[in-house]
C-alpha cells in the first residue's frame, strides 16, 4: 500500500517563526501536493510538484514556499508564520500519471500559530 507520512500531527508555533512541514511518500511517485483544509472551505491547493526541483503554485501560494530536493520528500515552508495560517495541512500523492488516479493523503498536520 502507498504510504504518505507527515512529520507532525500537531504543531504549535509563534507568529513570525519559520515553519517546516514535511511530507514523505514511499512509492516513488513523481507527483506531490500540499493542501490546507479549513471548515467550510474544503481543501485548497497551496503548491504542487511533478518532479524533483520542480514546483508550481496552486490557488493560495501567498505566504508559503516549497522544496523538493528528493523525489520522496516534499516540504512546505511558512516563511514567517501568521495567525491566519492556523489550519490543517494535508499532503497528497497520486501514482504515476496523476491524472486518472486517486490521491493518497497523509494524516495531516494541524498547525496552530499563536
Amino acid at each position: 500500500d502507498v504510504k504518505v507520512t507527515q512529520s507532525s500531527r500537531y504543531l504549535v508555533k509563534r507568529t513570525g517563526e519559520k515553519v517546516f512541514l514535511e511530507c514523505v511518500q514511499d512509492m516513488d511517485h513523481e507527483n506531490m501536493f500540499w493542501y490546507r483544509q479549513d471548515p467550510g472551505l474544503g481543501l485548497r491547493l497551496i503548491y504542487f510538484s511533478y518532479d524533483v526541483k520542480m514546483k508550481e503554485k496552486g490557488d493560495i501560494p501567498e505566504g508559503y514556499s516549497v522544496s523538493r530536493e528528493k523525489k520522496e520528500r516534499f516540504s512546505l515552508i511558512l516563511e514567517s508564520a501568521s495567525t491566519n495560517q492556523t489550519s490543517m495541512y494535508l499532503c497528497a500523492s497520486p501514482p504515476a500519471g496523476g491524472r486518472y488516479n486517486e490521491q493518497f493523503f497523509g494524516p495531516g498536520t494541524r498547525l496552530t500559530v499563536l
Binding site: G98, R99, Y100, N101, E102, Q103, F105, G106
Partner: protein, 111 residues
C-alpha cells in the same frame, strides 16, 4: 474555481439513501470523490472521467454529466460507517492537472 457541493449537510437514518451533488462552472476532465472521517485523512472513493470511464469502489455509485458539468454521488442503504465529510474534486481544462475541491458535504448516519 471551486466546485459547489450540495447539500452542505445531511442527516440520515440507517438504510436510507442520499445523493450528494457537485457542480462546476468550468468544463471538466474528471471528477473525484473522497470521504473524510473526523480526525482522519480523506480516502478515495471514485473517479469519473470524461467519456464515461469510472474507477472506484464497487459499493459506491456516481454519475458524471459532462454537458452540465455536474456529478452526483449516490449512497444507498446507508450504514453508520458512511458518516463523514464527502468532497468532490474537479479537474478542469483551465487548471490542467490540478484538483480543485469543493467545500464538502457533511453526512451523518444515525441508528
Amino acid at each position: 474555481q471551486q466546485p459547489v457541493q450540495s447539500p452542505q449537510a445531511v442527516i440520515l437514518r440507517e438504510g436510507e439513501d442520499a445523493v450528494i451533488n457537485c457542480s462546476s462552472s468550468k468544463a471538466l476532465y474528471s471528477v473525484h470523490w473522497y470521504r473524510q472521517k473526523h480526525g482522519e485523512a480523506p480516502v478515495f472513493l471514485m473517479i469519473l472521467l470524461k467519456g464515461g470511464e469510472q474507477k472506484g469502489h464497487e459499493k459506491i455509485s456516481a454519475s458524471f454529466n459532462e454537458k452540465k458539468q455536474q456529478s452526483s454521488l449516490y449512497l444507498t442503504a446507508s450504514q453508520l460507517s458512511y458518516s463523514g465529510t464527502y468532497f468532490c474534486g474537479t479537474e478542469t481544462v483551465e487548471y490542467g492537472n490540478k484538483l480543485v475541491f469543493g467545500a464538502g458535504t457533511i453526512l451523518r448516519v444515525k441508528s
